[in-house]
Amino acid sequence: MIFGSLGDILIKLSLGMYIYSIIAISIGIKYQDLKFIYSGRLASYFGTFLLLLSTITLVLGFVNHDYSIQYVADHSSNTMPFIYTWIAFYSGNEGSLLFICTSLSILLFLFIQDKKLNDNSINFSHLFILLFQVFLIISTSILANPFTEAPNIVQDGQGINPLLLHFGMFVHPPVQMLGLTAVVIPFSIAIGSLCAKNENLNINSLRIWALATWIILTIGLALGSWWAYTILGWGGYWAWDPVENSSLMPWLLMTAFIHSIMVQKKRNMFKGWNLFLIIFAFFMAQMGMFINRGGPVPSVHSFGSSSLGWTFLLFMFVSTIFSFIFFIYRYRSLVSVNYVQSVLSRESLILVQNVLFLSVAIITLMGTIYPVFTKSIEDEQIYVGREFYDLVNAPILLLIMIILSIAPFVPWKNSNISSYINKKIIIFVIAVLLAVLNSWIISGHYWVTISFVVLYFSSIQILIEFYKILKTSFNKFKNLPNTLFKFLNILYSNLSRYGGIISHTGILLVMLGIAGTSFMGIEKDFALKPGQSGTLKNYQFTYLKTDITQKSDHTNIKAIMQIDKNGKSLGEYTTSKSYYPRFDMNSTKAGILNFGLEDFYFSQSVISDDNSAVFEVKINPLVSLIWTGAFVVVVGALISVIPVYKKKDKVKVK
């Protein structure tokens, strides 16, 4: 069939378009010729169109089981569920690269919409995005082409990795890849404005794209941990695996970045620092793509290619070094007049938060690449397990949480420490009392108590804030509809703040979920014969039987448990394990019962011939707060991103 050659041609044509685009934009900038700029933009639009078509042909190749394409044969089969053929294209190295190229082209399309032609900072930014795009397309087309022809056409393909046959496959990989790719946009905006000698780094555009990138990365992370929780069978959601770390590190840096650009916008400071952060964030995002496909660090889910990884590494170092050189060269234009005046000011606290996030990112990076060093120097394969990261990163994250509960309620510029303490002492006392009360009821570990203190301290401040606004609105109008209107008006006048506060609340929920599962969680293995029972805390469970069903490409072993809580029957629940002989791999589906604030989690491991089985039973308190919290975080961020049109803003200065 023609899908293969058509897809290949389309990629190469898009490459031609983008190269032309680079040339046209460069000429346009140099000679200030708007015709060339516009032509270059049209070429970019066309490139998006071509890459989309190319991706569609690949998808159609999968859906039609076109095994004349080697990649389709490697990652699908006749027996795989039909719906998965639509997304299998991004399950492997080559296809995911094509996905990344296409996502970048769509982001580029959105970026240049509605932008003035003579705005050189936009044009320079466009140029840098194009350079990255061209690099990606050349890598795909030459080193990892998904449309390579199969030397001989097989009857049936290899099939998709069984661990990927899960709802998470539909959402996590595309969002995650989109997020990592999207980091190049704020990076290019910053570097592009620097090239165009735009002093404020195009702050409005930079802020919106940084937030958009951050939102996508957050969703990707949340989906990934949720997926790991339901599919991997050990009852946890984060193992500090190298690939997990590689998606966390850009997120950490982008989180620092979205706060420090707020300082830039409000106080015109930290421009140099921002530039440093975004260069580092882009470095981390590329590191993420490298670890994902490079292979020097063994991981549960790397694609495992070889030469491609090193190409990415090379581009990463070249782009970072050039950016830093350019940054140093233009540094003087970034220095600002304002300065951090006092330790207890919002700028100062944000700077501390930035440093803390940076520390977590660097420590995680060191831990992730440490095995590579020991392998090359001492030829030992060291494994850095999650205990290291948990021990070292947790205190820093707690410090960040404490800052989170203080900074939004501290003024800009400067503030008096003793007056701050005097104002907040009552709130702190109430928070501590509530947290202690909680600990006595839920029986918590001291980490949980501390987290509760921070949560209550922050929530009370947030509630007071909203209450004050409500009171002012009511005092002005004294009737309900107008009050509501005025309340919403005040919120609308400062959407970025209130959106941020909502996001912070979400983060607090996530942290509480993490504290709960880490410090109040209980886990135990039970070896049971059919008919035998076990007890864990207030749950009683009886292993009833095992059903073994043979499907066409896998064997499904399903264990059925009767579960009771506090003596009352909850019904029968199952956990299953599917063995795929072709992959010699097991995919587990754990039984998860959710009770609002607690999860009862059980999965089976070994089943012997006499049907006796070993069950891993785990009680995860507060784990659903993690998913709920992530959702709240995204909602809050979306609220702050909504553009606000104020009449005052139409006045142009200088």
């Binding site: 023609i2 050659s5 058509l6 041609i9 389309l10 044509l13 031609g16 378009m17 032309y20 046209a24 708007l34 015709k35 060339f36 516009y38 032509s39 270059g40 049209l42 070429a43 066309f46 071509l50 509605d114 932008k115 003035k116 404020n200 702050i203 409005n204 555009s205 916008k265 409000k266 106080r267 015109n268 600002s336 007049v337 304002n338 939004p408 309620f409 501290v410 003024p411 800009w412 510029k413 007071i464 804030e465 004050k468 606004i469 005040i490 006048s493 400062n494 703040r497 803003d649 139409k650 006045v651 142009k652 200065v653 200088k654």
Partner: protein
């Protein structure tokens, strides 16, 4: 067949990227031109100062007493400094609204 398709796409590509070099194209574009947002963030640093004081007060981070203190010290500073005339006008306007 594939070659023809490829050729067809290339022809369209060339037409598209050569469009901006035709003057009629610009007439057509300008007729349907949408209003492009004019972003601006060229406030002087002193205006940023005043703005942050006002937002802090409105969001309850500063109470009445602190707000007055901050505004007074701000007024002292700008009376001593030289500011661009337009900026000074805007600042005076804001201060009037605030009081």
């Amino acid at each position: 067949m594939l070659n023809l398709l490829g050729l067809f796409i290339i022809i369209i590509m060339v037409i598209v990227i050569l469009l901006p070099f035709n003057d009629n194209f610009w007439n057509y574009i300008n007729k349907n031109k949408k209003r492009i947002k004019t972003p601006l963030n060229d406030y002087s640093d002193f205006e940023l100062d005043l703005n942050s004081i006002i937002t802090d007060y409105q969001s309850g981070v500063l109470n009445d007493k602190e707000f007055d203190e901050h505004v007074n010290s701000f007024q002292e500073i700008i009376n001593k400094s030289s500011i661009d005339k337009n900026a000074r006008l805007r600042i005076e306007q804001l201060l009037k609204e605030v009081n």
